[in-house]
Every structure is written in structure tokens, then in C-alpha cells.
């Protein structure tokens, strides 16, 4: 499958196609949508973390001048017990609906309860304060281990733990228990010379995209519903809205506007169905925007977790057995990413004996949503810290022990799959050879740490069509919203096939009526799968163009070849025509050419990363500064290296934030006390050095150009790498995230 030849476009760094619009302020994001007669919607949110709704009285709000419509859960069709399949797995529809507007109970502070449409946003906001909701406040449970206790307050009376195929009889906050097992862990630990076991806690963190959620909806008189919004997947918005509103997908058009970051957090819908309900009620287009505290309190963060990791090794450093216990907070409804965490936790290693237990636990926090390699960063914080400790205790270089145990093609992951060709060893070797790793690191209170990470990446469906223009350019129509330069990386793959420049492709991301089904921009799949579809669509164009050349020259198609942007005839006539010139002759050879490609590829190649970080610890204040950072990653093939580097750098920095300061801080009542960018403390540019992104290319055999997804794995190693660096600096193992100054002061015994 791999095309092992020199590339003309792939691997170069053209200006992205949407670049000028985005540096001039012309690009239109969701909140930028304007329409005549637009109403503005605001959502009323629960002040309590756990309460029963006794009554909702909207009469005072309705009387406020300028208010045009109010909706509550009563306006959502009754979901019953329906299980909806939304492409990424089955979802209980009642949970989905209740998270949009709470029906009987509110399950977290910030849970949506009602929504108002008014003539301006200030009136809508004021109207929200006039809605009288009577609550019966219930005790909240805010931490995973407490939620697992038998006497913990129950969020859902009907949840029974499903465990390895069995369903328990008593209600519980533990929605499910999964287990993966390889070999005989007891035997493996018995063979170890050293066993290290540690417990870890990670805080709740948010994706932190800068653009708040937004949606504008309008119903036509014929029942056609249009939603303009920023989303990671227009088709998943269509599916979710259709399920929630019990409305046919054929009557819903979702128009994806530009999107201001997602990182997994803009897959689930929140206010899109609300905007639709308000639009239906008022007959006007309604724009609903979240503010920043709505985003923190009302949209999916990624879970806090409790993790126990035990690993054994021989004195030579061979890991003989590994055991993990992962308890993840799902938030208010089941569905934490404990599954992916369990898939990834020991994946950088070839270990014969492994047991992994994972628990999905509901707590009174917002329903969690994917966040960049969901589940894997939590898990790797545990496993990569324990590997570091084993290396240190055995006196083995931490990268050497990783090489000694590295996973390679043919090894089995604990959850079953056998690795195809992967680049685990190559990334560790590149890190080891990097001048950062070989540079001296001797200053007092300075430390160096390393960690590795894995993410499996996904394929899923993508569709691309290509319209050939008479001047030798093509218009490429795709359905993957572009969050980080994927118009370019997709266009470049089509350009490579057709022997034209990246600039000769005009990529457009279009609405759900205008392109074939395309799954979300997520799972590091877009450049891989939609790029693959673009490759197929370009191949389709190429085939049709060859047929046209054959008509032109009156030869058999088999006698036309295409190379380096030129069609030529072989076996007989000496004819030649460039792609561009042939494009100008489509009319006379049969009419326009439209190429199409659709894929649902199974060959997404897993990605590995190894990071090296130097830190300085202020022993008096507990503050950690990042002095130098190097992130090595296997991209398979970097289509546009600048944007691959950008993914690596951005992921690493989100990891740095997660490691050092980011967390949801709750009071006893379950209110997040730092729901602002001021106090949530994401890294600013003054908190960071340059991030050296090193791309390793071990081609993925499951893609014509060898592409592996690159977006997610860079967030996996940073937390453990920084913890290991802190240990190197001050000799203390930090086992709780974030490793904030107060926690360091406590660990050092200063307070």
C-alpha cells in the first residue's frame, strides 16, 4: 500500500489555504454568524451540584419585555429508554437529553435547566435570573473513590455496575468495570527482582479551547432546520440533534463555521439542540452563546482519576509484569475514557504478564468529554512514573530501560490487538540521541525527566469530492472541520496524486447537505482518513483524466500513463499533455470531471512519543519552571511538517499546564471556584521555552503516504516527564496532579 517514492508536495510547508482569512479577521467562526431578526439565547444553569427539581416557574421571565421564548426539558421529546448509536458507540438517549436540559435532577453545578431567547443577550441573561426553580438540594459526591463507597450519595437510582458481562443487583455510582489480562501476572511478579507500586491522583482538567460553544438555529416554515455552529463534526451534530429532538436527519442541515479549538470538547452537543428548540418556539433564528464560566461548568472536562500502578522487573531491567487499577470520574453520566486509558497504559512496552482493571464512575461534576488522547495522559502519569522509579532503583538510564522493553511490530497490547509496524523504538532512540538529552544537567534544583506515551489513533468514515477546473486547479470538497491546518494537509495529498501544487487545490469544508458522511475531526484521524479519501478522490480524477487523454489521442487507456503532472502515451504514439492543459480540454472529451473518494479505513497506525524536559524547582516557593522541552514523535509521514510540529508543541504545552497548575478546584458544595481563565491558569507564553518538536517518520502501512495521526499522543508524556524531572531536581516523587506550588511545598515539608 505504501507509496515509497519521492514526494513533490508532501513534506513541504505551503501557506495554509485558509490562512489569509484567519490573519485578517475575515474567517467566520460560530459566534460571528449574523442574521436578520436574530434573537439571542442564554441558558439558566443549576446553582447546586446535586438536587431534585421540584418546579420551574418561568412566568416572571416571560413577562420581561424583549423575551420571546423560554424552553425547559419539557420541550424535549420523551426519550424513554432508547439507546442511540451516534457513530462513536451507543449512548443512552435519556442521559444525552438530560444533559441538554435537566428533567428531574440536576447532577452538577452548571447543569442546564432552562433557556431564554430575547431580543438582546443582556435581556436574555436578565430573564434567566427571573426563572424560579425550586430545588430539593441533595448531598453531592465529588471524588471518584468516595463515589465508589457503598454508602455514597447515588446520582442515578437505576445504575447497576456491569462487570465483565455481569450486572450487579444493588444500585451504584460505578457504571462499569472492565478488565484486560495477558499471561499470568502473579507469575510475572514472582519473576521480578524489584517491584514498585504507587498510587496516583489526577485532577479534573478542561480542554480550554479559546472559543466558547455557540450555535445559531433557524426553522423554515417547511420544517427544515439549519444550525450554524462551530463543531468538530457537523455530521455528529446532525445525528445528536436528530436523536434528541426526534427529528429526521434529512430535515436538518448543519453548517460548520470555523472552529476555535476543540481538542475533543466540541464533539458532544450542549446548546445546539437548545438553539433549535428556541428557534422552533420563536420562529426566529436564535443564537445561543456560552460565556467562559458556562464552558468550564457546563461542558465536558476530562476526568479526574485515581490510579494504582504496580510493575516488576529483573535486575537487568526487563519488565516482567504490570498491573493497573484505573478509576475514572465519568462526571454526571456514564462514559469516562477509562477504556482508552486501559488500552494505552502499558502500550510502549512489551510485557508478558499484564492485568488492567478500569472503573467508570459517576460523580457530581459535568459529564466528561474527550480531551486529546482521552484517558491516556492520566494512565501514563502513573505508568511512566513507575517505570522511571524502576530505572532509577536499578541504576539504568530511563531511556535505556524503555528501549530494553519497547513494544515493536508483532507484540501484543494488553487489550488484545497485535501491533503492526510502529515507531516506539525509533522515538526513544531519537530522544536518546538528541542534544538535549546528552547536554549536561548539573545545577542544583534543576532536574531532567523523560516519559513516553502512546495513542492508538482511529480511522472512521470520510468523504471527499474533487471538481476539476479548466485552468488545471481543483476544488476539493470535504466534511472535516479544520481545527489546525487540515485543509492544507488534506489538499496536499490530492495535489501529490495529481502532480499539481498545493496552491492549485481549493479546499472547502462544507455543510452536511453538500458532502458525503464524514466523522468528527478527532482521534487524530483527519489527515489520515480524510486525507486518504482525498487521495482516493484524486486517484478517481486521475483515472478519468487518463480516459480523456486516451480519447484525445485515440489510444487505449492502458497506453496512457501519468507521471510528474504529465500524461503521456506509451506503446506507439508519442503524445504528451500536462494535467493543466488536459483540464482545459475536458469539454471536448466528454464534459466535466468530478472525482470522489470515500473511506472507512482500518489501518490507523498507533503513534508513540517520548519527551525530555528540564525543570528548575524553587525550593522556597514550590514553583516549577520549564527550562527546556523536547518532544519526539512518530508521525508516520509528516504531510505538512509545520503543522505536525504545531500539534506536537501544542499538545506538549497542554500537558505542561495539566502537570503544573490546571485543575477544577471545588468547594464542599460542589461549586467550581476557579471557573475563569484568570484562575484556571492555563500556560501563557511567558511560562514556556520554545518547544523543540522532533518528527520521526516510521511510515504507517495502513495509509498510502504512511500517515499516522499526530494530534493526540503529544499530551500523553508531559505529566510523567515533568514529575520525573522534579524528582531529579529535589528527590521527591510527586504522585498528584497538578504538581502545583502548594503541593510541592507540602511534599517538601515546607508547610
Amino acid at each position: 500500500m505504501l507509496e515509497n517514492k519521492e514526494h513533490k508536495v508532501i513534506g513541504t510547508r505551503p501557506i495554509r489555504h485558509d490562512g489569509v482569512d484567519k490573519v485578517t479577521g475575515r474567517a467566520l467562526y460560530g459566534a460571528d454568524f449574523q442574521a436578520a431578526g436574530l434573537l439571542h439565547g442564554r441558558v439558566l444553569r443549576s446553582p447546586h451540584a446535586h438536587a431534585r427539581i421540584i418546579s420551574i416557574d418561568t412566568s416572571r421571565a416571560e413577562a420581561l419585555p424583549g423575551v420571546k421564548g423560554i424552553v425547559t426539558a419539557k420541550d424535549i421529546p420523551d426519550a424513554g429508554d432508547k439507546i442511540a448509536d451516534l457513530g462513536e458507540g451507543a449512548v443512552n438517549l435519556k442521559y444525552l437529553c438530560d444533559n441538554i436540559l435537566a428533567s428531574d435532577k440536576v447532577l452538577y453545578k452548571g447543569h442546564a435547566v432552562a433557556a431564554v431567547a430575547a431580543t438582546n443577550p443582556h435581556i436574555a441573561e436578565e430573564a434567566c435570573t427571573l426563572i424560579d426553580v425550586e430545588y430539593e438540594v441533595l448531598p453531592p459526591v465529588l471524588e471518584v473513590r468516595q463515589a465508589m463507597e457503598p454508602d455514597a450519595p447515588l446520582l442515578h437510582e437505576h445504575i447497576r455496575t456491569t462487570s465483565l458481562g455481569e450486572t450487579a443487583e444493588e444500585p451504584s455510582n460505578v457504571a462499569s468495570h472492565i478488565q484486560h489480562k495477558l499471561g499470568d501476572p502473579e507469575k510475572g511478579f514472582a519473576a521480578a527482582d524489584i517491584v514498585v507500586e504507587r498510587e496516583f491522583i489526577t485532577g479534573t482538567v478542561h480542554q480550554g479551547y479559546i472559543e466558547p460553544h455557540n450555535a445559531t438555529a433557524h426553522y423554515n416554515a417547511d420544517g427544515q432546520l439549519t444550525i450554524w455552529c462551530s463543531t468538530q463534526g457537523a455530521f455528529t451534530v446532525r445525528e445528536q440533534v436528530a436523536e434528541i429532538l426526534q427529528y429526521p436527519i434529512s430535515k436538518i442541515k448543519v453548517v460548520p463555521m470555523e472552529i476555535g479549538g476543540g481538542f475533543g470538547g466540541k464533539i458532544s452537543v450542549y446548546i445546539k439542540p437548545v438553539a433549535a428548540l428556541l428557534a422552533k418556539k420563536t420562529g426566529k433564528p436564535v443564537k445561543v452563546l456560552m460565556n467562559r464560566s458556562d464552558v468550564f461548568e457546563g461542558t465536558g472536562p476530562t476526568p479526574a482519576s485515581f490510579i494504582r500502578v504496580k510493575m516488576g522487573a529483573t535486575k537487568e531491567g526487563k519488565i516482567t509484569a504490570a498491573e493497573a487499577y484505573l478509576a475514572f470520574e465519568a462526571g454526571a453520566y456514564p462514559g469516562s475514557p477509562v477504556g482508552p486509558g486501559a488500552m494505552c497504559i502499558f502500550a510502549p512496552y512489551n510485557i508478558e504478564h499484564v492485568i488492567i482493571d478500569g472503573y467508570d464512575v459517576v460523580v457530581n461534576k459535568p459529564k466528561t468529554a474527550p480531551y486529546r488522547a482521552p484517558g491516556a495522559p492520566n494512565a501514563a502519569f502513573g505508568s511512566e512514573t513507575v517505570v522511571d522509579e524502576i530505572a532509577e532503583k536499578l541504576g539504568i538510564d530511563p531511556l535505556e530501560i524503555r528501549l530494553l522493553n519497547a513494544a515493536k511490530e508483532g507484540d501484543r497490547r494488553a487489550d488484545g490487538p497485535v501491533h503492526p509496524r510502529i515507531g516506539c523504538i525509533e522515538t526513544v532512540e531519537a530522544a536518546k540521541a538528541h542534544p538535549h538529552y546528552t547536554a549536561p544537567n548539573g545545577k542544583k534544583h534543576h532536574g531532567r525527566g523523560v516519559a513516553s506515551g502512546y495513542w492508538f489513533n482511529i480511522g472512521l468514515e470520510s468523504s471527499v469530492t474533487i471538481n476539476v477546473n479548466s485552468d488545471g486547479t481543483i476544488n476539493l470538497i470535504e466534511g472535516s472541520t479544520d481545527i489546525g491546518g487540515t485543509r492544507a494537509s488534506i489538499a496536499m495529498q490530492a495535489a501529490e496524486v495529481l502532480g499539481i501544487s498545493a496552491e492549485s487545490v481549493n479546499p472547502s469544508v462544507v455543510d452536511t447537505n453538500s458532502v458525503g458522511y464524514t466523522a468528527v475531526t478527532g482521534g487524530s484521524r483527519t489527515t489520515y482518513a480524510t486525507g486518504y479519501a482525498a487521495y482516493e478522490a484524486a486517484q478517481d480524477v486521475k483515472r478519468q483524466m487518463i480516459a480523456r487523454a486516451a480519447i484525445l489521442w485515440e489510444v487505449d487507456e492502458a497506453n496512457v500513463q501519468f507521471a510528474d503532472g504529465e500524461f503521456s502515451s506509451i506503446n506507439g504514439k508519442e503524445e504528451q499533455i500536462s494535467f493543466r492543459d488536459l483540464c482545459g480540454r475536458l469539454g471536448e472529451t466528454g464534459g466535466p470531471i468530478v472525482g470522489s473518494g470515500t473511506v472507512n479505513p482500518g489501518g490507523a497506525g498507533g503513534a508513540y512519543a517520548t519527551h525530555v524536559v528540564d525543570v528548575a524547582v524553587d525550593e522556597e516557593t514550590g514553583k516549577v519552571d520549564i527550562l527546556r522541552y523536547t518532544a519526539v514523535q512518530d508521525a508516520g509521514k509528516a504531510i505538512h511538517p509545520s503543522y505536525v510540529e504545531g500539534q506536537i508543541q501544542g499538545g506538549a504545552v497542554q500537558g505542561i499546564g495539566w502537570a503544573l497548575n490546571e485543575e477544577y478546584i471545588y468547594n464542599d458544595e460542589g461549586t467550581m471556584t476557579n471557573a475563569s481563565f484568570l484562575d484556571y491558569r492555563m500556560p501563557t507564553c511567558l511560562d514556556l521555552p520554545m518547544i523543540d518538536a522532533v518528527i520521526v517518520e516510521v511510515p504507517n502501512p495502513g495509509h498510502p503516504y504512511g500517515v499516522r495521526g499526530v494530534g493526540e499522543v503529544p499530551i500523553v508524556p508531559p505529566m510523567a516527564a515533568i514529575a520525573n524531572a522534579i524528582y531529579d531536581a529535589i528527590g521527591i516523587r510527586m504522585t498528584e496532579l497538578p504538581m502545583s506550588p502548594d503541593r510541592l511545598l507540602k511534599a517538601m515539608g515546607k508547610i
Partner: protein
Amino acid sequence: MARRSHVQTTINGETVEFLCEPRQSLLEVLRDELHLTGAKEGCNNGNCGACSVILDGRLVNSCLVLGVETEGKSVETIEGLAAPDKLHPIQDAFLENAALQCGICTPGFIMSAKALLEQNPNPTEHEVRYWLAGNLCRCTGYDKIVRAVLDAAAAE
């Protein structure tokens, strides 16, 4: 409700008149009344810089300025930066350095960088990082943004 006030101001060199309520921020006026949506709302409390504009030559968060306060003042927004046929050097540098991913923070960063280079044409990396600390970017890790600003400074 407080009456809407008539305000006359200069935006990107053009005299502009608008009506606004006192509670409408400059950001709301730009976006909702004048449809200049290049300035973005990321936090609405001065912590992300996505709404950065230049007011009488000084960088401000437009979410922390009332529309009525701009009477008789001069506002520069991202929409006014490029010439009809030529991008501003900072815009070019952002494109060449791939200094944007989702792009939502980009207008704010570019306006902030413009204000920096106007008063310090040759900043050090640290000076760039200090000046831009009020602009949050969640996609890039800032590396390429800082390089773009340094490149733009070198190019000017």
C-alpha cells in the same frame, strides 16, 4: 432601560457612528452593531486577549471598554491591518511560520504584536513573551507565534 447613546468614533481610519447601550462593551459594538467580528470573545473579562484592539494607540481588551467610552477616539482592529493588496508584515509572518492552528486567538495576537513592535521594534524573545502573556493560545504552545513576531520584527 438606559437610552442608547449616539457615539462617533474613528475605526480603522474611517469615521463611524453608532448607537449603543452603556452596558455594551466595545467588543459587543464592534461585533454586533458594526459586524466587525475579527475581535473575538474568549473570556469577556480581560484574561485571554482574543478581543485585543488598539485604542488611541494603546493596546486594550475591547471587552473591558464600554462602547460609549470611545466617543471621539480612534480604534484599530484586525480588519484594518492589511492594505487592499498586501498583508501587514506581522500577518505574513504568522502565515509563513504556521503560527496559527484554529485561528481564534490570531487576531488578538496580531494586534498585540503590532502594539509591541510599534513601541519596541526589536524585542528580545523574553520581551515578546512578556508582552504577549495576556493573549492565550491553546493550540500552538506559542513557539511558532513567538517566532513569527520575532521574524516580523526582523523584517520590518
